[in-house]
Symmetry: C2
Subunit: 151 residues, 2 copies
DNA sequence: GTTGAAACAGAAGTGCT
DNA sequence: AGCACTTCTGTTTCAAC
């Protein structure tokens, strides 16, 4: 792990994950550091790509997506689903994973008919297994530095 | 779907998902709207909870997490894993889903030993199925309003 | 690391079309 | 609804400590 991430950086990262638009002065107040010190640390974290960027968290339901589903795709010898995944706006996450399921993706749909259409399209690349999300316990939990085992 | 989301709002949401710290004036330039008009629309979108918040995108690898895994948990008659999930910093997403897998979660681990420890803890709540993420095709793709079928 | 000042950029409020 | 203008807040950079 990056040894340059101290407790101040850790706290700053935590605050920025909760609210990316928090002012550096306000962060300084909460971590007991001056505003220029906070700005400098954030600049370092951005340069080191610890902070990849800042994103607005948009509520899919407010846009009309009533359904979130997790779809597992078992591809037959590496069919080129990557291009479809990239071009399909309903697929918002897609990971290639170990095991018999080649890919796991998170999909948004307005209704079950919409979901059915997406599944049909994905079936061109392999067999799918779909699980509709009932409740979201946590999504995008704040990432903290791992606790050291032997420190 | 929310009928008040027009093309301007759609474009603003897209820009803010790419960069939450983009200034309202810069957004205005790109959507051909004045800064106050953009500010007012963003305020509306925030009030309507279309925009839930703004989050820094932190790179797990930069913090020392070398492994991302998708773990499926088949719980036996609703064991109380929710509390564990909330308290475990390595579990960053957790959804209850339909089907035999009661829950699907995304987990960060520093190494395979670390992952093994998390799996062991989760096994207290049911049987687990773990898939290690090999590649991330897309993560947190920009959400766009659904295309209308009959419009 | 800190404070303080100056220059600049961005956000919010006002009035008008 | 929209824009132009002003004001206030926040950020950045600089100095000196």
């Amino acid at each position: 792990m990056n040894p340059k991430i101290d407790n101040f950086d850790q706290k700053i990262l935590s605050l920025l994950q909760q609210d990316a638009r928090m002012s550096h002065a306000e962060i300084g107040r909460q971590v007991h550091l001056s505003q220029p010190a906070v700005s400098e640390r954030i600049k370092r974290l951005e340069a080191a790509e610890v902070i990849r960027g800042y994103r607005a968290d948009v509520n899919p339901k407010a846009l009309g997506y009533q359904i979130t589903a997790m779809i597992r795709l078992s591809t037959q010898q590496g069919r080129p689903y990557a291009q479809y995944v990239a071009s399909c706006p309903e697929i918002i996450d897609c990971y290639t994973v170990t095991g018999e399921d080649g890919a796991v993706m998170r999909v948004l749909a307005t209704d079950v008919e919409h979901l059915q259409r997406i599944i049909n399209e994905l079936n061109a690349f392999g067999s799918t297994s779909t699980a509709i999300v009932l409740t979201t316990h946590v999504a995008g939990k704040t990432i903290t530095a791992p606790v050291q085992e032997g420190s």
